[in-house]
Symmetry: C2
Subunit: 453 residues, 2 copies
Amino acid sequence: MESNQTSKKAIVVGAGLVGSLWAVFLARRGYQVEVYERRSDMRAAGYTGGRSINLAMSERGWKAIEKAGIREKIEKVAIPMPGRMIHSVEGELSFQPYGKAGEAIYSVSRGGLNLELLSIAGSFPNVQFFFDHRCLDADLERPVLTFEDTGTGAVKTVEAPLVFAADGAFSAVRYAIQKTDRFNYNQFYLEHGYKELSIPPDANGRHRIDPSALHIWPRGNFMLIALPNADGSFTCTLFLPFEGEVSFEKLTGNDAVNAFFKKYFADALPHMPTLLDDFWGNPTSSLVTVKCAPWQWQNRILLIGDAAHAIVPFYGQGMNAGFEDCTILDAMHDELDGDWSRIIPQFARERQPDGDAIAELAQRNFIEMRDLVGDPQFLLRKKIAARLHERHPDFLPVYSMVTFSNTPYHVALEEDDAQNRLFERVLRLEDAEHNWDGVEEVFGQWLNGKLNS
Amino acid sequence: MESNQTSKKAIVVGAGLVGSLWAVFLARRGYQVEVYERRSDMRAAGYTGGRSINLAMSERGWKAIEKAGIREKIEKVAIPMPGRMIHSVEGELSFQPYGKAGEAIYSVSRGGLNLELLSIAGSFPNVQFFFDHRCLDADLERPVLTFEDTGTGAVKTVEAPLVFAADGAFSAVRYAIQKTDRFNYNQFYLEHGYKELSIPPDANGRHRIDPSALHIWPRGNFMLIALPNADGSFTCTLFLPFEGEVSFEKLTGNDAVNAFFKKYFADALPHMPTLLDDFWGNPTSSLVTVKCAPWQWQNRILLIGDAAHAIVPFYGQGMNAGFEDCTILDAMHDELDGDWSRIIPQFARERQPDGDAIAELAQRNFIEMRDLVGDPQFLLRKKIAARLHERHPDFLPVYSMVTFSNTPYHVALEEDDAQNRLFERVLRLEDAEHNWDGVEEVFGQWLNGKLNS
């Protein structure tokens, strides 16, 4: 079966995380793979551009990485984060485990991971890279893709009978498909932006705060987070509204920035000696969600990764979802005998509800993260959920389902809706925290489907 | 005030209904107006292309037409439709008035109206038309627009300090804005398509069925409608899913089409001698809703009409909404002293909720129209609503608010939500039709705001 695929050509647009991983999967099956990438070859030039924001690798990501054969390599530089470390305004710390003992998400450098994936893809003789190639347009009917060589300015067209568009949230291929009839498309920006900051290593090259956690400073409508790096530093991200009472537009100078951090992130400030340089040197970036359908064009062009489902980063699932696209596509290749005219429509049809679901879950988790300290109702819900899980091990927190399992995202979203119905009723109980009989009764009704809608 | 505007240049992209009406408004204020239009000059070439589907002019449309000075001219060829004529499967007719006595919507030919608007715009010496000019792109920063002369193939750029993009649901200007940061955009297609058909005049040149109504053959998941024309014909539109049990894809040949009409539209079939020619000669078109925000770019480019808010045709409000954009913009010109740097952002901010609202109302009305006969609950609701309106004249049907008033669409949508809550409760009453005391009690609670959420 694989032998008659060897002469088949596949084009991958984008050599980011998902594009380069998918090139590896295709190369292993013997395809002649051409990968076109807007940026320069980071193997030569070093990692530049794109978001340097750290990634939280979890089950779905590991599964794909393992198939690509680089799990061990990545594991060596990945830092386990078994839970969240919550920082209150007063500087009190509280640790919330993400899952059971032994379960963790892993802080991974986007650049480092991308480099590894490019290296392994480049080790296949049947993978050819074209860096500094910006996709300008796709002529879907012929079909050809048009690229600009950003070094020379030369424009060339490439025949493209089989295309995997992994060219990200602002996919040029998707913009072309968007103009075709009956293509549903939605891009939605949060009112919040983000800015990267950092906590450098201490004088001895060690982490200044506990490296075995994802740190969160939740402040209601905004928050700061920090993920550990292998070199002793932390990459921090400030999520804040662009406009309004407390917002980026109000942080107009050094005094305003210092005062803001002193007021809201007092315990982090001493660890951020480069705060002002970081703040003025790094851009304020926006946060987009993209949903579209169908993810494919005439069984010949398939959108994968962010090109199909760009999501906000608050569930740590952007990369994991893109990598899972590869795992699932690869399994369908076996199931459907490498017949792309069937694989592409089936993947587009079956996988899309999962893309929509993780987009929704990621938006919901932003609210959860921001409210972690502030909202007593929310904390009470957490407490009761944990106790329910102890007594009824089948009652799995949605976070675990998303992060530590391969359950389809759309099932996790349905469970989230269901658990929201459950806790809406539970929290209406008088003194729910101590009324365990009442909680159990509502839980029983919920299990029996009596709390539907 | 107006005198210092005379040298000011304004570009209008699109000479469809909204573009040519807006050119008239600008011309009257002394602007040097350049209008660019993809199609040929229909004043010379006759009306071609675009949708020929009839329009239902109502209050908002008339108000703008009157300001443009052509109300009387259009009234002469507009056919009043004071209500819907419902055709059951068995061929029974029932007439439902749209509003009070004297209230009607008016069937108007899209082509004829567009011609009138072009003629009056063209009568101003300060309006210059560029037909056969397709907008290819907008360079927002300079800012310039790029047009292709579709006759010669020549490409030219036009300086564009002040642009009104009235270039329709697939606006080229909007596609350019879509790629800028923090622009929210949503295009959504119904699963239904539509096809135009016709009922020609009878041998004596007269209407074959009652011309003083909008005819509807509601069939649950699909429907046929017919609007009268001044020449004795009707323009019919079949709305049907593209795929599925009963769908366009199932109508594969003459036999299938004939059988379908015989089964579902038996009383219309004898009046449609050109059915098969129409069916195979006319395209099956899709139905898109477009929502976006903000409707403007840096106080210099404004999206109006379908370019800002394309909606499905089921409320008969597409043109009316676009014309109301012109009325409102014109009023803001007075209010803000012709200062576009304030008019454009204010219009974009204040009018957008109305665009979103009429998009939502139009989608809801599709369900209403299709269910007109089939759903007894719906008919009961109609009956009770009419009686409530009789006894409480302040209780206005949402249809009247949208069609016979200038109440902002977002207020009408809120009222629709509120009335849905009311009738959800009313229809839960036992034997609601005859339990008038019960209805009045629920209505009283509703008025007091006790049925909120």
